[in-house]
Amino acid sequence: MNKFLIAAVLATAGALSTQAQAKLQVFACEPEWGSLVQELAGDKIDVDVATSALQDVHQIEAKPSLIAKLRRADLTVCDGAELEVGWLPMLIQQSGNQKIASGAGSFMAASQIVTLEKPTQLDRANGDVHPEGNPHVQMDPYRMLTIAKALDARLAQLDPANAAAYQQRFADFSTRWNAAIKRWTAKAAPLKGRNIVVHHNSWIYLTTWLGMHEIGSLEPKPGVPPTSAHLASLIDITKSSHTLAIVRAAYQDPKASNWLSEHSGVTAVSLPFTVGGDAQSKDLFGLYDSTIDKLLALTKSPSP
């Protein structure tokens, strides 16, 4: 039995080690980072995206398939700020891949910028708080640009042979991105000063950028499911604040936001939140286009 096992191990090892891997293997924890790294590297790399826009990235199962993907990764690109704390450390440990455990092979987006909502008090009585601040940074285009620049440098560091290509692609991306920021900011002008109620506190970067206000959250505390008592108190706030919308991410259960919508008369809207969250969000540009379009559409409909 043991001899057979050893023979099988060696045979598999031999067969597989002959496959040389030329391209940089990137493991992106969330679709937005898969999309960003694709913008910056194109076909110079292979990307595995661990999660989809229809999954709650706080609560991913440490699936065996993800261990297999991490085993071959040269670089992980993730949100960081403990967003993936419930699954990524376990996966990295099980993958035994020292390249991505820390150092150059581990790229955390939230570590490249200043996060918002850094808690002053760490107490789980306040829900699932993230000590390093709000990790949902992907909806601020300026922060995205800073992150893109740092990620580009990381790609060049890990794959110097293609450094020139990465540099050129970043230059191209930042030109297009800056042009898009101009467009989005102009287009989103009517959203400034408007109030929204959110499902989970994942929109602070978007609202800060566009000058919108988050006046309430369906989750009384992050990660704590909505309770009926809390929802009842939210009805008044939502009704009385000339609220534009009740916003949830594509992956969130629509029940709570629809319930509040029925009782307050304010429209509930599902925003893509990340690449793949709706049909239009095929890449980062589409994600921003779709998000702003969906919010703008609500400013045109008669509000209660």
């Binding site: 043991n2 096992l5 598999t12 699936k63 035994g96 789980r124 640009l145």
Partner: protein, 461 residues
């Protein structure tokens, strides 16, 4: 400014000894002058560091200004963008590590608290399991109120090559507190090509449940097969070699050697290495909704006077399978977990009755050659974020001959309902109908709490 302050301080410090000016004091003064010089140099270096940091900050600012220059100044520049850019620029991109006090490198610490009320309809003293020995984590749950296993876990990277973990458990057994070392191991983190080595005390990676800590279980107690063949969970002092194959599906091979102090082995007559294991685990996805994990394992032991009176060669074979289904894989919002494990236990040796059963002078030995089997199937339905319900069927197949000969095969049915307040706390109500022998039925009701404090642990699949 800083320099003069320093000098004043030093002068003050010097003042007292100067009154008693003796030759050694002269020497001291010289030493102190040398120290002042060193401190001044230090201060200068710090000034330079500050200047460097300022320069870096300015560079970052300039960079952001550049980015800002790209954007249309006409659009809302005065309203949102400047605030935003300033916010990004307010600190260097990499967060500086927290102050270098002695606690900065403390290991991650987490505490699991676990307690229960259990009531069984059968008197525990009358409980016996036909065909199988009890003891060592096997048998009905303790009656009444108790803390089940509560534990403290400490873990951290030791350096760039090793990771370490210590788990201490507190248990109450027959009104006696026991502090136990559940895990104390080191593990390599930097071996190439998917290899990993672990050494110390740890739970064997055979089967599915064995390597999982009890607080991640879906039921209050372990399946009968785990109780009967592994004393609930086999952990021991040993070494492990693992290899993760570079395949598109998850494929892991491993082998372990253990001291063999614990059931199903026992005694130290095997020069300290009495248990060998081997295992293969494979897993993958079926579409977006379904994930699976399966394994084959074996445990070979040379036992000498094990808890069940066995001495000789025992071979245990396990097959395990897990299937998780949830729309888009969001299992926490609703989904189903199916799991089953099957055990075959082969004995070839001698049975010696425990001392208290030996009547008269002569030890009453008999040969023990036989096979017993066991298994369980469980299904857990996650209703939503807060509720979960599960059913488990347990079965053991006894040996018809040998020292534990029985014509009866024990079985058990269990249902559970869990209320999960958050990721960190749950209450569980469980009812089990246990039929351990042909003459008794034990209806067991348990109400359990289970919480996790401290470091946010990540759970394996």
């Amino acid at each position: 400014m800083r320099r003069s302050l320093l000098t004043v301080c030093v002068m003050f410090a010097l003042a007292a000894p100067v009154f008693a000016a003796t030759p050694p004091t002269q020497k001291k003064i010289q030493q102190l002058e040398a120290r002042i010089k060193a401190l001044e140099a230090n201060a200068a270096a710090m000034q330079k560091q500050t200047a460097d940091a300022l320069a870096a900050l300015q560079a970052t600012r300039a960079e952001v200004e550049q980015i800002k220059a790209h954007q249309d100044t006409a659009i809302a520049a005065a309203q949102t963008a400047p605030a935003e850019s300033a916010a990004i620029a307010a600190a260097p991109p990499q967060t500086a590590p927290a102050g270098a006090n002695g606690n900065a490198f403390n290991p991650a610490m987490s505490v699991v608290l676990n307690g229960a009320y259990a009531h069984g309809s059968l008197d525990p003293d009358r409980y016996y399991r036909a065909g199988f020995a009890l003891g060592g984590g096997s048998g009905p749950p303790a009656q009444g109120l108790s803390i089940a296993e509560s534990e403290v876990a400490l873990s951290a990277n030791i350096d760039e090559k090793f990771y370490g973990q210590l788990i201490l458990t507190a248990q109450n057994d027959k009104s006696q507190d026991h502090i136990g070392v559940e895990n104390a191991f080191i593990e390599t983190t930097a071996l190439p090509n998917g290899f990993g080595v672990r050494a110390g005390r740890f739970f064997s990676d055979i089967g599915y449940l064995n390597s999982h800590h009890a607080h991640t279980d879906n039921f209050y107690d372990r399946p009968l097969a785990y109780q009967a063949f592994l004393g609930s969970q086999y952990g021991d002092d040993g070494v492990q070699l693992r290899w993760l194959a570079p395949t598109p599906i998850f494929l892991e091979f491993g082998a372990e050697a253990f001291a063999g102090n614990n059931f199903p082995s026992g005694g130290a007559a095997h020069s300290g290495v009495g248990v060998y294991t081997g295992f293969v685990h494979a897993g993958g996805d079926i579409g977006d909704d379904t994930s699976w994990l399966a394994g084959l394992s074996t445990l070979h032991s040379k036992a000498k006077g094990a808890e069940d009176g066995f001495s000789g060669d025992s071979k245990l074979y396990l097959a395990d399978g897990t299937l998780k289904w949830a729309p888009n894989g969001n299992l926490k919002d609703g989904g189903v977990t199916l799991r089953g494990e099957y055990f075959v236990d082969d004995r070839n040796g001698l049975y010696t009755a425990p001392a208290e059963l030996q009547l008269g002078q002569s030890a009453f030995d008999q040969t023990w050659n036989g096979q017993r089997r066991g298994g369980y199937l469980e299904a857990v339905y996650r209703i939503n974020r807060t509720w979960e319900a599960g059913y488990r069927y347990d079965k053991l197949w006894a040996d018809r001959t040998g020292p534990y000969a029985s014509e009866f095969d024990p079985s058990r049915n269990s249902v559970e309902l869990s209320w999960l307040n958050s990721e960190f706390s749950l209450l569980r109500l469980q009812f089990s109908r246990d039929v351990p022998n042909p003459f008794n039925v034990d209806n067991i009701l348990t109400l359990q709490y289970q919480v996790a404090l401290g470091a946010h642990g990540a759970h394996a699949f």
